[in-house]
């Protein structure tokens, strides 16, 4: 009995320690976001004061309208949506077609092609960056959204493409082969089986891949900076980087308001979809 209560005391202590650690870490993770919100609502005069104010006494929502006046945030936002949505559609289509071939068909060079695709994940973009830039130039796609969207219809040109093929192949393989045999006996073509049966059954995997690809494109800075030059074409990340150089070291209130506007959509998307993200990680479970 006494032994048991000592044990219980031990676990209670351990629980307190664990929770204080968890909460401290949560504060460190959330702190910068909260600080961004606070700063975005301060006036420039308050910001230069030291010690800083942690709760804005007169929250200045006008900072947000000022950001909209300073830069075409709405245009950036629209560009980000356009590039991310179209790019995601393209990459998911290309990846699911290829994954279907790898999961369900036998063909010459299958192993070889698959390992080649996997190997591309190892190649840093800095190696291919200059020729890719030249290709875009000769296609006349520089400073056009085509350079950022169309490559995704060919499997996501920039590094991440193979990941999708890999993820979907694994999922497709887990769907019983008998389903395909049955639908083939009913006279459906292979492509028809793919579109009307396999893809609808794979909704969870497709959703997860879409989410990852979408976030990747939405958050990307390198390729927009590489291919685009006019302000009206820029996505949020690029626009934000421009705002940062324009506003460097002053008006952090505006900078934080702009940053908040750019991260809010993706953070909300994640909070609603977080269950699927966790599932994806747990299912993909890397095995040495």
């Amino acid at each position: 009995m006494s032994n048991e209560s000592i044990l219980a005391g031990g676990t209670r202590w351990r629980k307190v320690a664990r929770y204080s650690l968890l909460v401290t870490l949560a504060l460190i993770m959330l702190g910068p976001f909260l600080w961004m919100i606070v700063t975005s609502l301060e006036s420039p005069e308050v910001l230069v004061q030291f010690p800083p104010q942690f709760i804005p006494r007169n929250p200045r929502f006008s900072n947000y309208s000022e950001v909209f006046g300073e830069l075409p945030i709405a245009t950036f936002f629209f560009n980000s949506i356009k590039i991310s949505v179209l790019g995601t559609i393209g990459e998911v289509i290309a990846a699911s077609l290829a994954a279907f071939a790898f999961a369900r068909m036998e063909f010459q060079g299958k192993k070889w092609i698959f390992s080649l695709l996997l190997a591309t994940m190892m190649i840093p973009f800095q190696v291919t960056m200059i020729p890719v830039y030249m290709i875009m130039r000769s296609l006349g796609w520089l400073d056009s959204h085509a350079s950022l969207i169309i490559p995704h219809f060919f499997g996501g040109a920039f590094a991440s493409g193979a990941f999708g093929v890999f993820l979907l192949r694994q999922f497709f393989e887990s769907i019983p082969k008998e389903l395909e045999d049955a639908s083939r006996i009913d006279g459906a073509s292979r492509f028809r089986f793919f579109v009307t049966i396999l893809l609808p059954l794979s909704k969870p995997a497709l959703a997860v891949l879409s989410l990852f690809v979408f976030m990747g494109i939405w958050n990307d800075l390198l390729t927009p900076v590489l291919f685009l030059s006019t302000e009206e074409k820029m996505p949020l990340t690029f626009g934000l980087a421009v705002l940062e150089t324009v506003q460097h070291n002053f008006r952090y209130d505006l900078l934080m308001a702009g940053t908040l506007l750019s991260v809010a959509p993706i953070l909300l998307l994640y909070v609603f979809a977080q269950r699927y993200v966790t599932d994806a990680f747990l299912r993909a479970g890397v095995k040495g």
């Binding site: 968890l22 959330l30 800095q126 190696v127 958050n219 800075l221 934000l240 040495g288």
Partner: protein, 286 residues
């Protein structure tokens, strides 16, 4: 049953692979052997670019910076991720909340994170130096100080990315059968002993994977320096991938930039190969 139609399904990805990866990898090998400034056609110069780079003091400093960054970032990042995963491994109340919060920075764009942290790192009125002043510490001007700028960037990157590897570790931990721990507990093993003798060997393949991927990622650090320091102050945060960018798109020396790209590629390959070599010594195989 071999099917030819398979190639039709593969066609988009294969075109993309040829046009955007295989072709460029070979083209950039050729470009690395040329003198090429964007306006005129490339002129073949053999290994000249490589010779010049290897004799350049700046190149070695940039390589040094890149290794220094990886040295700061990789152990800290992997350690923090593993610690977060171990804290969240057990089914406890509020687990979803904590997991979501720790993953939030991963979802945020690096640009946004870098801008927020530039503000936090501000030497005069920044949040970090205020918090340090509460403990009587007079913090440096983080990003303007050549000694502190790179560590500051590494620290910020740990904050930004820890949640990603945490998820991978959580998946690895979930695969460890619970009866192993139960049995060891009955035998009176302490929690530290159980961690060392059970958890660590069983997740060592995952740990290995995380180490390799995190190292490759560290060598590619770009957006942080692009937004926060532009390689400065001086050349203290100039890393390989930013230097390649500068050489190509600020100095328009595309031949030299391609050679840098290849040297970079070789370094990444060698580092990965070394990790695979050492693998046998510590990764547990069942």
């Amino acid at each position: 049953m071999k099917s030819r139609s398979a190639y039709l399904y593969l066609l988009p990805v294969l075109i993309g692979f040829t046009v955007f990866t295989l072709g460029p990898v070979m083209a950039s090998l050729y470009l690395s052997l040329t003198h090429y400034e964007i306006a005129a056609a490339p002129v073949f110069v053999g290994l000249l670019n490589y010779k010049q780079l290897l004799n350049e003091q700046l190149f070695w400093q940039v390589v040094g910076n890149t290794f220094y960054y990886a040295f700061l970032y990789v152990p800290l990042s992997v350690g923090v991720s593993l610690a977060l995963a171990l804290l969240l491994e057990k089914k406890i109340r509020g687990i979803t909340f904590f997991r979501t919060v720790y993953f939030l920075p991963v979802v945020t764009s690096m640009v946004a994170a870098a801008i927020i942290w530039t503000w936090i790192y501000n030497g005069d009125i920044g949040l970090l130096n205020y918090l340090l002043s509460l403990f009587g510490i007079n913090g440096p001007k983080w990003l303007q100080n050549p000694h502190w700028a790179l560590p500051a960037i590494a620290l910020m990157s740990v904050w930004k990315n820890a949640g990603y590897n945490m998820m991978i570790f959580l998946a690895g931990l979930a695969n460890i059968p619970t009866d192993y721990h139960e049995a060891a507990r009955l035998d009176g093993a302490s929690s530290f002993a159980r961690f060392r003798e059970i958890t660590l060997p069983l997740i060592s393949p995952v740990l290995f994977f995380v180490l390799v991927v995190t190292t490759i990622g560290a060598f590619q650090v770009f957006e942080q320096t692009y937004v926060m320091t532009n390689g400065g102050p001086g050349t203290s945060t100039l890393t390989l991938s930013y230097y390649i960018w500068q050489t190509a798109f600020s100095f328009f020396n595309l031949g030299s930039a391609s050679a840098l790209g290849y040297l970079f590629f070789i370094i990444v390959l060698v580092m990965t190969a070394i990790q695979f070599q050492v693998r046998k010594r510590w990764v547990y195989q069942s």
